[in-house]
């Protein structure tokens, strides 16, 4: 939008295209376009705990999608733990049931604007 001379919100369009691509199944698991794997893993955690959880997110995503790359991430993960920058367990918000109810309803209402 900032650079577009026609004031088009380009990021919004990119998100819309991504949603449509995921919904229609236009992606390949084996390439960089496998972003839904990451997004979906992320969403799983948010749904379950209300907040994101880096350790779980990284390990689960990589185990599922790039098991061979795990070794590259390991040193950094250890560094994170050592620096106190990563938790071993996720935090769960108090109103997780409320949040789940809201998200379920949102999906039910659904639709694109």
């Amino acid at each position: 939008m900032v650079r577009c001379p026609q004031e088009i919100h380009i990021t919004d369009i990119m998100y819309t295209l991504k949603r449509k691509a995921i919904a229609e199944g236009y992606y390949r698991e084996s390439t960089a376009a496998d972003a839904p794997g990451w997004s979906e893993t992320y969403i799983d955690f948010v749904e379950k705990y209300g907040r994101s959880f880096e350790l779980g997110l990284m390990t689960r995503y990589h185990l599922r999608h790039h098991p061979l790359d795990m070794y590259k991430m390991a040193p950094m993960g250890l560094g994170m733990l050592r620096k106190g920058r990563m938790d071993l367990t996720p935090t769960r918000i108090k109103g997780i049931k409320q949040l789940q109810a809201i998200l379920n309803k949102a999906r039910e209402v659904g639709g694109e604007l």
């Binding site: 900032v2 650079r3 001379p5 026609q6 004031e7």
Partner: protein
């Protein structure tokens, strides 16, 4: 029930109206349903504005004794005059003719035929009711003063001034800067012929400077405009030059001796320097310098006076003050030009931050043999010749974030730059464009020529200009990143120099100027002409004309043409000696006026005064502009307005509401409201 004999004429306008409105049906309906409202004839015609259509009305007036005419066609702003004149030819007072719009307000904005037809009927019904109450009016005749004020001494204003002055009439030419010449004086070559701007402009400037009929007021601004067409009184401030022009010979010694050097942001577009006492350029007209008080050491610190010491004629006068003068003129031409779009606003192009990014105006000065580099195309260091140059089109134009419109001249100016770079440096030139716009005589040929000279053209809007190198070969260069939309790829092109073809913008104070002269600006800030096609140099305000870029972006030939056109309009006026004004005026019915004076302060034209003897308010017909605010405000209904009396407006309202239609006396039936 009226005694009038009204004729109704419904225009097909080819298929413009007839394609949506059942014009025959409407005419038939008017004949029947409006019979007891005085309609004796109702006809439809392919083109009412054609000679045949007009003759139809004239014949009916003469043979059928029509006393009122309603034409249902296009907007009154287009053809009101046409039909009024037709009536007049047939001996009917022109103000007894009413044009109602069923094209702009019906057939062009609605698609449903039944609904549009019904709305057309209502509009005609309103016109019939209103015209029945019209009165014959005579236009007001006012004399035209033979002097003309021209504001702006660029090429459009110069052209207009010379046309009028050469015809033998006096002109006051007011220019804000110390010299006339405008933007054209800054240019080097002019497209597409590449003749030198100064060679064709400066002779005209000199003629203006010495013309016996031109009173040249440079370094001056219009402060106030009073009066009306034919009789304007204009207050002009002549800013102090601190140079006595009676004594000054224009020798230039003061400028030479002045110790204070400042960047010249105006004439040199920031690319060169001038002194604190200066004439903007050698061929300036008039030749007299001005002292820039913001930068003059004497005005800052109280000492120096080098200019005074060295002036051989004692012309420097630090005590000089602004002078305010008043002139009487009959017509005014505004040719106030443009400001260049400020390229700093698009920060991703790096202007002001990256040294070797230049604006088009800077580049014009650079190419100019009399400019800061004597015409050498060099980088900001003043020495290095570029080996590659990128020219970015549409900077600040065709962009909703800045200006939505096309600035018209930049494509051709960019092609000219490309040619000059090739010719003078042999550098590779890259043009980044959205669309190439090379309309008009010999322009596209010039494009072909530049293509053949080997300039590169990349179709794509530039994303950014950066000095952050990413790939080998980019170090120390400016990298221009753009999507080449013809090959569908991102490109990064490293160059030495970038020229931004900045767009044209209305003068920063165009809105204030418009207000001062009582004309309108478009949302963008350009002055609005009376009609975009048929009356491009007149404005809605009688006696005020516009010319050049102030009306909208255009090139030199078009500016010159408008300057000449505006002067032709003015000359026509002057030669008539007087002008007929629309007799739409308010007047006080003395018997009803209670003398409360509520209206006295309402009039912005000071047309209402109070007669102390009779204890009633009085309206000066020549000053009254006919807005009608006083009519609406009078608590005693003692003010009435010709063409817009309460009775006339309410009659039209009743007509529009179809309250008086034969088949629905009094009440509006559901079917007549707005058919679904």
């Amino acid at each position: 029930m009226t005694e009038e004999r009204i004729g109704v004429y419904v225009c097909h306008c080819g298929s413009n109206i007839a394609g949506v409105v059942d014009v025959e049906g409407v005419a038939e309906w008017a004949r029947e349903a409006l019979k007891d409202r005085g309609v004796v004839i109702a006809r439809d015609n392919k083109f009412m504005c054609s000679t045949l259509g007009q003759e139809l009305i004239e014949n009916d007036i003469e043979k059928e004794g029509l006393t009122r005419v309603v034409v249902a066609a296009c907007s009154p702003h287009l053809h009101e005059g046409t039909f009024r004149t037709a009536c007049q030819r047939a001996g009917l007072n022109p103000y007894l003719c009413e044009l109602v719009s069923i094209r702009e307000h019906v057939s062009w904005v609605h698609k449903d035929k039944a609904v549009a037809t019904q709305k057309a009927k209502a509009i005609i019904s309103g016109g019939v009711e209103r015209v029945a109450l019209h009165e014959p009016l005579e236009p007001l005749h006012v004399p035209i003063h033979s002097s003309t004020l021209i504001v702006g001494g660029g090429i459009a204003g110069i052209q207009a001034a010379l046309e009028i002055a050469d015809s033998g009439y006096p002109v006051y030419l007011v220019e804000r800067e110390p010299s006339i010449g405008g933007h054209m004086a800054q240019f080097d070559k002019t497209f597409p012929t590449l003749d030198c701007a100064a060679c064709i402009l400066t002779p005209k400037m000199a003629t203006v400077g010495s013309h016996p009929n031109i009173n040249l007021l440079t370094w001056s601004e219009v402060e106030q405009v009073d009066g009306y067409v034919g009789n304007f009184t204009v207050t002009i401030r002549k800013k102090a030059r601190y140079v006595n022009t009676d004594l000054c010979t224009g020798c230039g010694i003061c400028e030479e001796k002045c110790p204070k050097k400042v960047v010249d942001e105006v004439f040199e577009a920031g690319l060169g320097y001038r002194k604190a006492v200066y004439t903007p350029f050698p061929q300036a007209v008039p030749k007299y310098p001005v002292i820039d008080v913001d930068n003059c050491t004497y005005f800052e610190k109280g000492t120096c006076k080098a200019c005074e010491k060295f002036c051989p004629t004692g012309a420097i006068d630090f005590e000089q003050e602004d002078e305010v003068i008043q002139v009487e003129v009959g017509n005014i031409i505004l040719a106030t030009g443009f400001d260049l779009f400020d390229a700093r606003r698009i920060s991703q192009y790096g202007y002001g931050r990256l040294a070797n990014v230049f604006t088009s105006l800077e580049f014009e000065r650079m190419c100019n043999a009399a400019g800061p580099t004597n015409g050498e195309i060099v980088l900001r260091d003043g020495v290095t010749k570029p080996e590659s140059v990128a020219i970015i089109h549409c900077v600040g134009s065709r962009d909703k974030n800045y200006n939505n419109y096309c600035s018209v001249i930049c494509c051709m100016a960019s092609l000219k730059f490309a040619h000059l770079v090739e010719e003078r440096t042999g550098a590779e030139v890259y043009n980044f464009y959205i669309d190439m716009r090379t309309a008009f005589k010999d322009y596209d040929e010039f494009y072909q020529r530049v293509l053949e000279e080997g300039a590169h053209f990349v179709r794509g809007r530039v994303a950014e200009v950066t000095d952050a190198a990413r790939m080998p070969g980019e170090e120390g260069k400016l990298i221009v990143q753009a999507e080449d939309t013809l090959i569908g790829k991102q490109r990064r092109i490293p160059v030495d120099m970038v020229v931004l073809a900045a767009g044209l913008e209305p003068r920063h104070d165009s809105k204030e100027v418009a207000h001062k002269f009582g004309i309108s600006c478009s949302a963008n800030g350009w002055f609005i002409e009376k009609h975009p096609k048929l009356d491009p140099v007149a404005t809605m305000t009688e006696g005020i004309f516009i010319a050049g870029v102030a009306q909208g972006p255009k090139d030199i030939p078009a500016s010159v043409a408008q300057g000449a056109a505006a002067s032709a309009r003015v000359l026509g006026r002057i030669q008539q000696g007087e002008i007929a004004l629309e007799p739409v005026r308010a007047s006080v019915i003395e018997e009803r006026c209670s003398g409360c004076r509520i209206c006295n302060n309402l009039c912005p034209f000071n047309a209402i005064s109070f007669d102390e003897e009779k204890k009633v308010s009085v309206i000066n017909a020549a000053l009254c502009q006919g807005c009608g605010t006083c009519v609406a405000a009078c608590p005693s209904n003692a003010i009435t307005g010709t063409q817009f009396s309460n009775e006339q407006v309410l009659a039209q309202l009743n007509g529009l509401l179809m309250l008086n239609v034969a088949n629905g006396h009094g009440a509006v039936t559901e079917a007549e409201r707005v058919p679904a």
